[in-house]
């Protein structure tokens, strides 16, 4: 994931709010989301660059400028790219 990468949810993958919190519904599966997961994935809409996602998350969580936002968000998204749940355009 680089600053200009534009991640988006892969086809057939969508966010859903449930009684037990946010989940990502995928083919033959469910990924339970915790922490900033839902807020990250909501911004994987093909219109946010990775840098913009990190900036907005930083603002939302009161952690603007904190390097960990970028590294943790990047690691989270890289895992989801490997699982084919997120695509980078």
């Amino acid at each position: 994931m680089t600053a200009s990468s534009v991640p988006r949810l892969a086809r057939g993958c969508r966010l859903q709010d449930t009684a037990e919190g946010w989940v990502l519904l995928i083919p033959e599966g469910v990924l339970r989301l915790s922490g900033p997961g839902p807020q990250i994935l909501r911004r994987c809409d093909g219109a946010h660059s990775f840098a913009e996602i990190v900036r907005e998350l930083g603002a939302e969580f009161g952690a603007a400028g904190d390097e960990r936002v970028a590294s943790e968000t990047g690691a989270f998204l890289d895992r989801l790219v490997e699982r084919q749940v997120v695509i980078v355009e």
Binding site: A10, R11, G12, C13, Q16, A19, E20, P27, E82, Q84
Partner: protein, 333 residues
Amino acid sequence: MRPRGEEMAAADWARIFGEAAELGVLHAHLTGGEPLARPDLEALVGAARAAKLYVNLITSGVGLSERRLDALIAAGLDHLQLSFQDAAESPANEFAGARAHARKLALAGLVRARPIAFTVNAVVHRQNLDRLDEIVAMADDLGADRLEIANVQYYGWAIENRVRLLPTRAQMEACVAAVEAHRQRLKGRMRIDFVPPDYYARYPKACMGGWGRSLLLVDPAGWVLPCHAAGVIPDLEFDNAQHRPLGWIWAESAALRRFRGEDWMPEPCRSCDRRHEDFGGCRCQAMLLAGDAAATDPVCSLSPGRPRVDAILEQIHGAPAEGGAWVYRIDPA
């Protein structure tokens, strides 16, 4: 499957999908038979999506035009799984009993260009496992997001054809190694899910994720079952979703309670640590192989019934791969 006259209407399904969502269900799998045989399938897809279920369609592709595919997607379809019998056209058509293969290839081209998830489901067995590499290549070329390599499971019509279908041990071992290699090579590009035949396992599969534990099946007439094969087990009292709310059925139905949990387990299952992982294996398989739905799953190496499975495997290895006649579910002649 039951005659069409007894099938529930779309409005019944809509109510049932709503009850399922209330129960905490997340995925709806529309399967069969062949779900496309219902002219109002789009209405069912719409109702499931409206209930906020993720909508999966499991299909052979028979009856799927481009127009219909677009209508299903517009109605809210999330994922389509298309079955293939082989990578090569002639054996594929022989196995399916129909000239379906070329149509499936064309359909795959339509699906891959659309914004839904796409899975190729390849049914494998002794007669086509040697073409596993071609099957994986075919699914990859077709642009599938996922490939399910499904070993025929020995229920229903497959049990009649078992000797010609069960792979040899050598084939199984080659298949396991090949799948792992393909999985690594295609990581991030195509997921491969693989269900090996449990006759070769030391322990049974966690069938359906446990009886009445992770999923339920509603048949076209509304009967609620723990799985598609449970009809082989005698003396099960099923309930019908047209007469009772699904939530009540899930909690109280005698059929769903019959093998739920651990109280029904005989030894060695009852005190076996693995019971938390495999939930006692498959009841339908115990019925088919041991004549007793409450018996330890005979594929388990700890089952007193395991020698019977070993005898079947010996028969496989003694029998020629070619020759003999298939027993079809519907005679193609």
